[in-house]
């Protein structure tokens, strides 16, 4: 009997450690440190082409036969664009921005492909296509997907607003168009960003301390690194992805 | 000399030119109908016309009175006979060829399809008009004062009309014929239901014997077709013709069509366009026939039989009326036949039952009752109905108000009341049976005898009887009872036939329309 309880408590603890760790406390951050860096790729990877496989001719008309996936956008200096860089657990820090996350279904693609939504704000999902889309946002927990919202957007210019409730890395898909994909990091703290076209990123206003920074790229995968931030100073943390 | 010259070639020439007159004269024994005398003689001397009087009562000529129903029924019979003879020339009554010869009549015989349609529709029209004729006779109270027996003959003619139609239905040997034959033979067999219960079947199987007699075997086959053919073209026509003759003869002998006792000729006003009033030219008598010497004296004389004043010469009054009805009838049948084909389905196939297998439409009221109990629905209730109808003149001996529609307003009220009560109760009962079923659905193992004794058809019959008796009791008039009984009969026949024809589908289940039938 005790074993059961123990198991239960343990399970709760471990699993919640992954996705539902302690609350975030908002404090006034003055003279905090920052983390900057460049995410690079070890080698050039060709951007795969998405085949638009549909039996409905009107969808081909709208979206074409193929589309660039935009998965591997690697600059001349090997910088990787669209890498999510975030610190999962920050006990204290500045206030979260009030900024709705706008996700648009456009020409059978999600725009933007990668982005950050903040807890306490909303997802604003729009369908700009005259075809049916359903936007299914699913939280990735331990490699498994768990639906957060599965929203139907059957008509053009339909907009649905939903609060960001569960935090973590979300995969977005559309059941009607299996090639459609997007990634959203639903953050419970403001310390998350995306790399720019040269692979550079910066996370500002961190209280001094040691943080676990996660780099996530849909093609290369994810990696978590430790970094220590001192007050008022930028810490550097680079990462080079190599294709497995 | 000159006479002898003339009696040669010239006489022959005269004879040739005089052929028209001499033929007319020899044909019309009394010469051309130029005077009242010769007009009367024309009627009396003609074989076909002599069954009618030289003079006809004005009432007989009022279309609103007879509606020409009996006459139409008779004409339809004539048309059926003539078209039947034409169709018969090409028809071959064997199961190998019956169907294909009917197809040939349709496809390659000149006007064959039309003839077959005329035959079919005039035959079925007979049923309608015989029933309507019967209704007219009943509602105008015309089965009295010596006409009682003619009513019985009429009932026989009704039954013969049904049987004649039924036998004709079998002849094309298509699916309709075959499965109607099966149904009818099962109906005929239905006394078995009772003998089974009484345990008598092994001793005397009345139903089985009847069925074998009808089918000339145990299943419909070549012998059945021969038998039915013989009935249809020989036996039944001869019998029906005989009875029609007797029927007409009795009309004449029983004093012609009924006339209201207080018939008041207002012909100058409202039937001037119906008859040709005799022109009085000369003579010592006035147009009003009187008897005795009073006519010689001045002043008003009593009219002895006022009816005599109300008669007109049959020629041309009656003759033209009859001719008009005949041509109208023929035209109607032909027009109908041009546009509506007589049904002909697939060749008979004993392995593919029609579902629902239905008897001809005029028996579907019976089939509806058969679906409750075969024995009651097919034997007892039809017998009792025919018996009840036949006995009407003998149970209603009230001799007043003859020749008046519904015997006046009281009868009209009874008829309408019966119509409403009858329709509502019958439809209600059918709705009950359709929705809730009957004993067999409630107690699946119940003995069949209970269903034979207590089933919707029996209850309905009891209700009809009770209603008629109650009418007799409440109005104090047997005539009203007769009206109630007959109205109930008509209502039942109509509603049951409608339900059986339109609302019953496969397995005799209830459907609002054919579109809802589960298969085909």
């Amino acid at each position: 009997m005790k074993k059961v309880l123990l198991l239960f408590v343990l399970l709760t603890f471990v699993l919640s450690g992954i996705a539902f760790a302690g609350p975030y406390e908002v404090v006034d951050v003055k003279g905090g440190g920052s983390i900057t860096g460049v995410v690079k790729a070890a080698a050039k990877v060709a951007d795969p082409v998405v085949k638009i496989e549909t039996t409905k001719p009107e969808e081909h008309q709208l979206c074409g036969m193929t589309a660039p996936s935009g998965m591997y956008e690697i600059s001349a200096g090997m910088g990787v664009k669209n890498v999510l860089v975030y610190i999962e657990e920050v006990p204290k820090g500045k206030a979260l921005p009030k900024m709705d996350y706008k996700l648009t279904n456009l020409k059978c693609q999600f725009t933007p492909l990668v982005g950050i939504a903040y807890s306490g704000s909303n997802f604003v999902v729009t369908n700009s296509d005259p075809v049916f889309h359903n936007t299914s946002i699913g939280l990735m927990v331990g490699g498994k997907r768990s639906t957060v919202y599965n929203l139907a957007l059957p008509g053009k210019d339909q907009v649905i607003t939903k609060p960001v409730r569960r935090t973590g890395l979300n995969s977005v898909k559309c059941d009607a168009h299996p090639w459609m994909r997007a990634w959203i990091y639903a953050a419970k703290n403001p310390y998350a960003t995306i790399t720019d076209a040269d692979g550079k990123y910066e996370i500002k206003d961190l209280l001094p301390g040691t943080y676990k920074v996660t780099f996530f790229h849909e093609g290369f995968g994810d990696v978590t690194k430790d970094v220590t931030v001192a007050a008022g100073k930028p810490a550097t943390l680079d990462h080079t992805f190599s294709k497995k | 000399m000159s006479e002898s010259l003339k009696s040669g070639i010239e006489q022959f020439k005269d004879n040739i030119f005089g052929l028209k007159d001499s033929l007319t004269k020899s044909y019309l024994r009394a010469g051309k109908p130029t005077s009242d005398m010769s007009r009367a003689a024309l009627m009396v001397n003609n074989f076909f016309l002599h069954i009618q009087g030289a003079k006809t009562h004005i009432n007989t000529l009022r279309p609103a009175y007879t509606l020409g129903m009996g006459l139409i029924a008779f004409y339809l019979f004539i048309i059926t006979c003539v078209s039947g003879a034409l169709v018969m020339i090409f028809y071959n009554p064997s199961i190998e060829h019956a169907y294909s010869t009917v197809k040939d009549i349709n496809y390659v015989v000149f006007a064959g399809r039309l003839m077959r349609n005329v035959h079919k529709w005039s035959g079925e029209g007979m049923i309608v008009f015989v029933l309507l004729h019967m209704a007219r006779v009943l509602y105008t109270n015309s089965y009295k004062r010596g006409r009682e027996f003619n009513w019985l003959i009429g009932i026989v003619l009704l039954v013969l009309t049904f049987v004649l139609n039924l036998t004709g239905y079998m002849l094309p040997w298509d699916q309709l014929s075959y499965w109607a034959l099966v149904i009818v033979s099962n109906i005929i067999q239905s006394p078995k239901e009772l003998t089974d219960i009484l345990g008598l079947t092994k001793f005397v199987d009345i139903g089985g014997i009847q069925k074998e007699f009808f089918l000339a075997g145990t299943v419909p086959g070549a012998a059945t077709l021969n038998r039915v053919y013989f009935l249809h073209i020989m036996l039944l026509p001869i019998i029906i013709t005989t009875f029609i003759g007797v029927h007409f003869w009795r009309i004449r002998k029983d004093g012609g069509l009924t006339v209201p006792d207080n018939f008041n000729s207002s012909c100058n006003v409202d039937c001037g366009n119906l008859v040709v009033l005799p022109k009085k030219t000369g003579g010592i008598f006035t147009t009003n026939k009187t008897y005795g010497l009073m006519t010689m004296s001045k002043g008003v004389t009593p009219a002895v039989d006022r009816d005599v004043e109300n008669t007109v010469l049959s020629w041309p009054n009656l003759a033209i009326a009859e001719a008009a009805v005949f041509v109208l009838c023929l035209a109607a049948v032909i027009v109908y036949s041009i546009f509506v084909d007589a049904p002909l389905k697939e060749a008979a196939n004993a392995l593919i039952p029609e579902n629902p297998a239905k008897a001809p439409w005029y028996f579907l009221g019976l089939q509806e009752m058969v679906s409750y109990s075969a024995f009651m629905g097919s034997i007892v209730i039809p017998m009792l109905s025919v018996l009840g109808l036949a006995l009407i003149p003998y149970l209603d001996r009230d001799q007043s108000d003859v020749g008046i529609w519904f015997s006046g307003s009281a009868g009209k009220k009874v008829a309408i009341k019966t119509l409403i009560v009858g329709s509502v109760c019958l439809i209600g009962m059918l709705a009950f049976v359709v929705n809730f079923g009957w004993f067999r659905n409630w107690w699946p193992s119940i003995a069949q005898i209970w269903i034979i004794l207590i089933n919707p058809a029996n209850l309905w019959l009891l209700f009809v009887c009770a209603w008629s008796i109650w009418i007799i009791k409440s109005t104090g008039s047997t005539r009203m009872g007769a009206i109630a009984l007959f109205t109930m009969f008509l209502v039942s026949y109509l509603i049951l036939t409608y339900v059986g024809t339109e609302l019953r589908g496969p397995n005799w289940e209830f459907f609002w329309s054919k579109a809802q039938w589960p298969i085909h």
Binding site: - | K103, A111, L274, P316, I320, A324, A331, I352
Partner: protein, 462 residues
């Protein structure tokens, strides 16, 4: 002077009568076929080149004609409209003036064969609608056969051997499909085959009303019924449990073959059927003929929604490892009562013992070399009541409380009673790999050997 009412009634009726009788007469004088014959005569004359031909064309008379074939008891009046079938000059005209295609009429002269023996339709009729008998209001049992199925008529007089040499490819492929898709697994034909479906003898010469046409789309004819039935059995017969997977082309071919299964025999002088040598079929062919419709390749264990039960994967190595040939043969011979598996022995489905042996050895080909270790099972120690308790909690969910089956197989069965104890024990203990049957033994869900024995003694008592 006459009475006005009746006189005018007489006059009007007489006029109506006259008008309609003339109308009817005119209609009778100008039937549909006359226009075709007149047009034919014109075309014939135009196409004729030699004066001889011209003369012939000019001599052609318009009039009703028919082909009467005494031996076949048929009257065909098709040539009233299809006037040019035997005239080579009409080869390029439109139907119905066109000459008959191919050289068929050389071997099958119209005067001896007529038309409807091959083409079906109503030979008696003299108008297109009723002659072609399409549409249910024409009331003819055999509507005209669509040309894509025309080969189905050849088998009346020719055998398959002859037809395969003379290019009747459609029907040959249809027969092949019939044998390979396992049709006989459910349908009997000439005495052997399963009993789940209707017997197919004479199905090709059944009248329209033999087939329930309510849900058939388009023309309600036998070929449409068959084809739509092959494409989606449930659409045509909602309660059907038939399993079939055919492409539309295959469905057409199979329809042609099924239509050729007729009972109508033309007289002997017409028939060119020689006895075909009976080729003994091997196990694989027999499996395709009788088993494949349900068991498919024998690898998939799936609950079948049509048959309302799981079709066991008989080629599953996990099954073959435990089941010996004797057991499989017994199941094939006796069938499994209460399931769609029928008894296949001679007395019911008509297979000889030899054929059954062949099928069993074909099935057994998939058996691996290793066989499971024997275990000793003593049923006498089994406690039925204890078994029942376990069964109701652990097994009844799939096998049904009375063993009637569901996701799991039916256990209330003679076969289970007769089955080897070891076979049952191993099945319960080790489960059946690749099927939902889990291992219940100590390595799996934790039943002890004794508990398994208890369960076996319970299920043997169903």
């Amino acid at each position: 002077m006459q009475s006005r009412f009746y006189a005018s009634l007489l006059l009007i009726s007489a006029l109506i009568l006259l008008a309609f009788v003339s109308y009817a007469g005119l209609r009778e004088l100008n039937p549909e076929w006359k226009t075709y014959q007149k047009e034919y005569k014109r075309l014939f004359f135009n196409n004729a080149v030699t004066p001889d031909m011209k003369k012939k064309a000019a001599e052609y008379t318009v009039g009703i004609r028919q082909i009467y074939i005494k031996d076949l008891n048929r009257v065909d009046r098709c040539d009233n409209c299809h006037v040019g079938v035997e005239n080579p000059l009409m080869a390029k005209e439109k139907v119905p003036y066109r000459q008959h295609s191919g050289t068929y009429l050389k071997d099958h002269p119209v005067t001896k064969f007529g038309c409807t023996i091959c083409h079906l339709g109503q030979g008696n009729a003299t108008n297109k609608k009723e002659a072609h008998a399409e549409g249910h209001d024409t009331y003819w049992d055999y509507p005209i056969l669509p040309l894509k199925h025309i080969q189905s008529s050849c088998t009346q007089c020719h055998n398959m051997d002859f037809l395969s040499k003379h290019g009747a490819d459609v029907i040959i492929e249809g027969e092949k499909l019939f044998n390979e898709k396992g049709c006989k697994g459910c349908h009997k034909l000439s005495g052997n085959g399963g009993v789940l479906g209707k017997a197919l003898d004479g199905v090709g010469s059944q009248p329209i009303h033999y087939f329930p046409m309510r849900y058939v789309e388009g023309e309600r004819t036998q070929p449409s019924w068959l084809k739509q039935h092959f494409e989606d059995p449930r659409k045509v017969v909602p309660e059907s449990v038939m399993k079939v997977k055919l492409t539309p082309e295959e469905a057409d071919k199979l329809t042609t073959y099924i239509l050729s299964i007729r009972t109508y025999d033309p007289p002997k002088i017409y028939r060119r059927i020689n006895e075909e040598p009976i080729v003994a079929k091997d196990g694989h062919a027999l499996y395709n003929m009788y088993c494949v419709a349900c068991h498919e390749d024998g690898k998939l264990s799936a609950f079948d929604e049509n048959l309302k039960g799981t079709i066991p994967a008989i080629e599953n190595p996990a099954f073959l490892m435990n089941a010996d040939d004797r057991f499989i043969e017994m199941v094939v011979k006796e069938g499994r009562k209460g399931t769609p598996m029928t008894s296949w022995q001679l007395s019911s489905a008509g297979l000889t013992d030899e054929e059954i042996k062949k099928i069993v050895s074909y099935v057994a080909l998939q058996r691996g070399h290793e066989s499971s270790k024997p275990v000793s099972v003593n049923l006498k120690t089994g406690d039925k009541d204890a078994g029942k308790e376990i069964f109701n909690v652990r097994c009844a969910l799939c096998h049904g409380e009375k063993g009637q089956g569901g996701l799991g197989l039916n256990l209330a069965n003679q076969i289970i009673k007769k089955a080897d104890d070891q076979y049952l024990f191993k099945t319960i203990r080790d489960g059946r790999a690749t099927t939902p049957m889990p291992p219940f033994g100590s390595t799996g869900l934790g039943l002890t050997d004794q508990q398994i024995v208890n369960v076996i003694s319970y299920i043997k008592a169903f």
